[in-house]
Subunit: 354 residues, 2 copies
């Protein structure tokens, strides 16, 4: 019942502690015979090594931490556990531990990180949702501590990251919409200190330019990353004529709010006003109408992040681990060609020229 220690095991076998330890760790200077004897005795007695002691002795933490996002935005929830599962899988191969670290506030974040790397509790950390310029990344880079980020900051050089190309995706979306005949395309976005928000916004502008449409600041509205946020922003955009005939939303949860806004205006989403989201969340299939979206690739990102981080801890160069994936447009029912609806007919300066 009581924990059996290495000493107990050694005593039981009549061997020295060190010998038993080396046997358990497959040192080459242990004869096959005794190694086997040790193994057998070990699981006969139910010996389970004390990880803490091992860590102290080796100096290897054999654990990595995931720094939880501090923003409580509804959206963080689905992707966090997805990521955690993947990380867990990756770490399981080596029987490493996964720590979840939760800063108590956004300001607290850097301090938490400092303590974390200093404590020696982990040998690597994974960050997510970087800001455009992210102090956490700067600190980690300068400290030389192994880390990887899910997403990337504006400056994406010199560290490891995994991201999907939101900029490209939004440019694609504009292409798609203009191909359908839309000329007034709105953007409902999130505060751009979050780098992904900036990326997608840039993609939106790229798309306009590529299609010869003028950028009109009146067609963009920024809100928080919730359904209500999206709804409010969309409602605003739709309230001053000439309103956009299509809305690109920075993510699906905002898009879902936007759908509600369109209906609130008495219009039907997908007919009168097109709405396109981003993420490809499961729920999109069940909205009213089903949401057209830019879906992230299904590949378990957590798994990849974990594997990459492990490689870096093993000595890999962070710069060698930067992967950019492409989002895919999945068409459902919330987009379509623009229809001539209750919109002010006169062409204002907001209309693109050409």
């Amino acid at each position: 019942m009581a924990r059996v220690s290495l000493k107990d095991l050694a005593q039981h076998l009549g061997l020295a502690e060190g010998t038993v330890s080396r046997a358990m760790n497959n040192y080459p200077d242990i004869s096959a015979a005794t190694r086997e004897k040790v193994q057998k005795a070990a699981d006969a007695l139910g010996y389970k090594p004390n990880h803490t002691a091992r860590r102290l002795a080796t100096g290897r933490a054999e654990a990595v931490a995931y720094l939880m996002p501090t923003s409580r935005s509804a959206l963080s929830t689905p992707f966090v556990s997805e990521l955690l599962q993947g990380l867990g899988d990756a770490l399981a191969k080596r029987a490493w531990d996964l720590l979840v670290v939760q800063p108590q506030s956004a300001e607290d974040e850097l301090q938490t990180l400092r303590k974390l790397v200093a404590s020696g509790k982990v040998s690597g950390v994974v960050l997510s949702r970087p800001a455009k310029v992210d102090a956490r990344i700067d600190f980690l880079k300068s400290s030389g501590f192994p880390f990887i980020v899910h997403g990337r900051a504006k400056d994406d050089a010199g560290y490891a990251w995994y991201d999907v190309d939101g900029r490209q995706a939004f440019a694609d979306a504009v292409d798609h919409l203009t191909a359908q005949g839309h000329r007034r395309i709105g953007f409902v976005g999130a505060p751009s200190y979050q780098n992904f928000a900036q990326d997608r916004f840039d993609g939106y502008k790229d798309g306009l330019k590529a299609n010869g449409l003028a950028f009109d600041p009146d067609f963009v509205s920024i809100a928080e990353l919730t359904d209500e946020g999206g709804e409010r922003a969309a409602f605003d955009l739709l309230s001053s004529p000439p309103h956009p005939t299509a809305l690109l939303c920075v993510n699906d949860v905002q898009a879902i709010g936007a759908l509600a806004a369109v209906r609130a205006k008495g219009w039907v989403p997908g007919k009168d006003v097109s709405v396109i989201g981003y993420d490809g969340v499961w729920m999109g299939r069940h909205t009213n109408p089903p949401l057209t979206t830019l879906a992230q690739p299904q590949s378990h990102s957590g798994r990849q992040l974990g594997d990459m981080l492990l490689s870096i801890i093993d000595g890999g160069k962070p710069e060698d681990f930067q992967v950019l994936r492409r989002a895919e447009l999945v068409r459902r029912k919330s987009d379509g060609p623009p229809t001539g609806i209750r919109t002010t007919p006169q062409t204002t300066s907001r209309e693109e020229t050409r």
Copy 2:
């Protein structure tokens, strides 16, 4: 730059290691003067205690583990991160760590747990989604290791848990439906080895009995906990006349699938067939139509679980920490009085008598 250890600090101060240690830990036998001196020097030199060494020396792990559910059912995702956040908050007060442990398979679970408690890595664990009879709980109970479970097994005695009363909730839902005039109420459920599924099913039956309705096995269909599962199950139920005029679904994601099934039959959910879910997920407001559901109380369950677990680790009796919350019916648009629709008119034995 290099880590500064206790020894360094002591040397720098001209004090003994032990003295410095006691000063840092607020031992009463250290004079206020030196305590202060030590504190100052500590953060001047940037001393951060090595947690691993501390753990080894004290034998206290100062960490708890969350055992991830192995089922990949879509639903696990939202609630996992919610729970993690709450746990993190609770642990932050003591600066304890949160480990996320992920068994590689369901069979592996018990073994993982064994290793976990033996390794000394944590001083408590939290489980979720217990089975009707759950080997993990039995093991933990017999081992005397501190733990708490989110939900509860069929046998809920002798350990700590936090649960919301699904049985009561489903009985309430049946009341609600019969009050509206429904007589044929279906149940789409999940495999009942999951205790919560059994609970809710029992509540459904309780409700029928309380309202003088006969239980009809043809009105229940079991499927996996996904939208497709719910859709298939609901479709089946609606395909053999006389079909139920209302569907109680074991959770919201199934209910969302059920909504789709109703539409697929050419009916309109909430009018021709009522459907009610369970959980109160955020998404329910945006389905078509918005989903009536039995919402779990908003109180951060993770936080509560954490606090309770801490109390138990401190020596509290597990039996003293059992909290049962009540779900609340939030009415949206997916339920209403039954309408006489394309249903076979003749009263079969399936109709309740009275």
